[in-house]
């Protein structure tokens, strides 16, 4: 028997999964950059990454006075190969839930603020559910114990960083530089 979970957990899990998936993709990109773009031959100036991996080639160059000169060119590898960088632009999550008996608990009135307590019921309801299958279109189909009665569709998009988040990143960035 699957344990029913709170709706917030069932809704939050796929949303957090999208974020974490994106982070994993970003991490993979970062690793790609480290492995492909740098030599790992550490030196004092760049202890982590080492030197930039370059492609060096020489070619015969004709000067303005007609003389021929052998020239050598070093190009960072990262500039000539595509870096796999993925970002979730949009995600759609849809699932069906079968709700269980709601949990009713009496709210403490201390946090009710100035709202009229008699209007707002003091009973707090928490919903729990399990994932279920879509209800059958055929009304005569035998009802299954996991036939869902709630359908949720969530469309996610990349959000701009909130002001607070930008501030946090700036602090972290500057603290890194200072150490």
């Amino acid at each position: 028997m699957i344990t029913p979970r709170y709706i917030s957990e069932l809704l939050g899990a796929p949303m957090a999964a999208v974020i974490q998936a994106e982070a994993i993709a970003a991490k993979a990109t970062a690793n790609f950059i480290k492995e492909v773009g740098f030599t790992k031959a550490t030196d004092a100036s760049d202890p982590d990454f080492g030197a930039v991996r370059t492609i060096t080639f020489s070619y015969q160059r004709v000067n303005a006075d007609g003389t021929i000169q052998t020239a050598t060119l070093a190009i960072p590898l990262l500039t000539i190969i595509p870096i796999p960088s993925l970002q979730v632009a949009e995600a759609e999550i849809e699932f069906d839930l079968a709700l269980t008996q709601p949990e009713v608990s009496t709210k403490s009135t201390a946090n009710s603020g100035s709202l009229d307590k008699t209007f707002l019921n003091n009973n707090d309801v928490r919903l729990r559910a399990i994932f279920g299958k879509k209800p059958s279109a055929n009304p005569n189909a035998p009802a299954s114990s996991v036939t869902a009665n709630m359908n949720v569709k969530i469309k996610l998009v990349q959000a701009d960083l909130a002001v607070g988040m930008v501030q946090l990143l700036n602090i972290l960035d500057s603290s890194n530089k200072e150490t």
């Binding site: 939050g12 999208v18 279920g132 990143l169 960035d173």
Partner: protein, 381 residues
């Protein structure tokens, strides 16, 4: 079984909590990104809900209508009841005063009821109605109870007159009773110059005078005319009772006092000796049955209590109480909360016929997850 509003509130709360979990995940990642030399140049994954649709199937188990009393509605109700109490007391005073002035029996009441009477009655009604305002549950029954209580108080608040064989014990504005003699036309004839504490005492004297008239034993003496008021006066002796009498109707003063009083008593003697029973069909009013256990003297068969003022008060009370019920009902209707008791769990829904299963669908968009300031910009809060 829960209310639909609680279910929706819980869902919305869960959606918010889910979004906060996603944001929390972004926050943790932001720390990791900032500490990584390469990732710090990457945008931190952060999602926003552009659109969220929820479709929920539920079954209605019952519909509940509960009156709720907010402080605002309580104030409104209290104000309504206060106004009603004052209105009712005012209407009672005006109507009783009108009747007192026009009804021969109550003319002695003068300007009754007074402003003070109105104020006290309004206070009494308001006090009685407190039970109605404290709880709107079953207010109809409470109003009925209040009506009964006020109705019970009417005999104490409104006086009656007692008629007996051409005499009547009538209330006066001083709070006492006086004995008045009425002529055939029902007009005040003369009065016994004596103050009675109650109508019973006055009626006892009336009975004494009537029986003396019947047995021709009434003695009239000391005829005089008041030099100032020009009112005729005399003295009567009926058994042990010896009291002065005075004409009430000044128009009759043109006749000599002796002639006037003798004619008046002769008329009463005729009536007492040959009582004329007024046929109910003639006046269009059934004969009032005598109260079985009346505390008032019943030795005189034609004694009749006149409750005109009390009847007026009762009629006004009845009429106004209907208005009160309608008024409170209106306020109660405005402050009623309808709640749907629904079942959302799949185990219960399985037992419900498919046609009885309802669906609620709601959509939230990105604006619903964004706090905006007054200028519709994203708030930093």
């Amino acid at each position: 079984m829960s209310q639909l509003n609680q279910i929706i509130a819980s869902l919305l709360s869960d959606i918010n909590e889910a979004k906060s979990k996603a944001d929390e995940s972004s926050r943790n990642l932001a720390r990791i990104y900032a500490s990584d030399d390469v990732l710090k140049f990457f945008p931190v994954p952060k999602i926003g809900i552009q659109n969220l649709e929820v479709e929920l199937k539920y079954a209605i188990e019952s519909v509940e209508e509960k009156p709720f009393q907010s402080s605002q509605s309580k104030e409104r109700l209290a104000a309504y009841v206060k106004n009603f109490s004052e209105d009712l007391a005012k209407e009672l005073r005006i109507e009783l005063s009108k009747e007192s002035l026009s009804n021969e029996l109550y003319k002695g009441l003068g300007s009754y009821p007074s402003q003070g009477w109105e104020k006290n009655v309004a206070k009494m009604i308001s006090g009685e109605l407190e039970s109605v305002t404290s709880s709107l549950t079953d207010f109809s029954r409470s109003i009925q109870k209040v009506q009964q209580n006020i109705q019970k108080s009417i005999p104490e608040l409104v006086p009656i007159a007692v008629k007996s064989e051409g005499f009547a014990a009538v209330p006066t504005e001083k709070g006492s009773y006086e004995l008045i003699s009425f002529d055939k036309a029902g007009i005040r004839d003369f009065k016994v110059v004596k103050e009675y504490a109650s109508e019973k005492e006055a009626i006892l004297d009336a009975n004494l005078i009537s029986s003396s008239i019947s047995s021709n034993k009434l003695v009239l003496s000391d005829f005089s005319k008041d030099p100032v008021s020009k009112l005729d006066a005399a003295k009567i002796k009926a058994g042990n009772l010896e009291v002065p009498i005075q004409v009430v109707n000044v128009k009759a003063a043109s006749i000599a006092p002796k002639v006037l009083f003798e004619a008046s008593f002769a008329e009463k003697a005729v009536f007492l000796k040959n009582p004329v029973r007024i046929q109910p069909w003639l006046i269009g009013r059934p004969a009032a049955p005598a109260p079985p256990a009346s505390p008032r003297p019943t030795s005189q068969p034609n004694q009749e209590e006149d409750r005109t003022l009390q009847e007026i008060a009762s009629a006004i009370l009845k009429k106004k109480m209907i208005q009160l019920e309608a008024g409170i009902s209106k306020i109660a209707m405005e402050t009623v909360s309808t709640g749907l008791q629904v079942a959302v769990d799949i185990e219960k829904l399985k037992l419900v016929k498919p046609e009885n299963i309802m669906t609620i669908k709601f959509t939230l968009n990105s604006q619903d997850f964004t706090m905006l300031d007054d200028n519709s910009n994203v708030s930093i809060l």
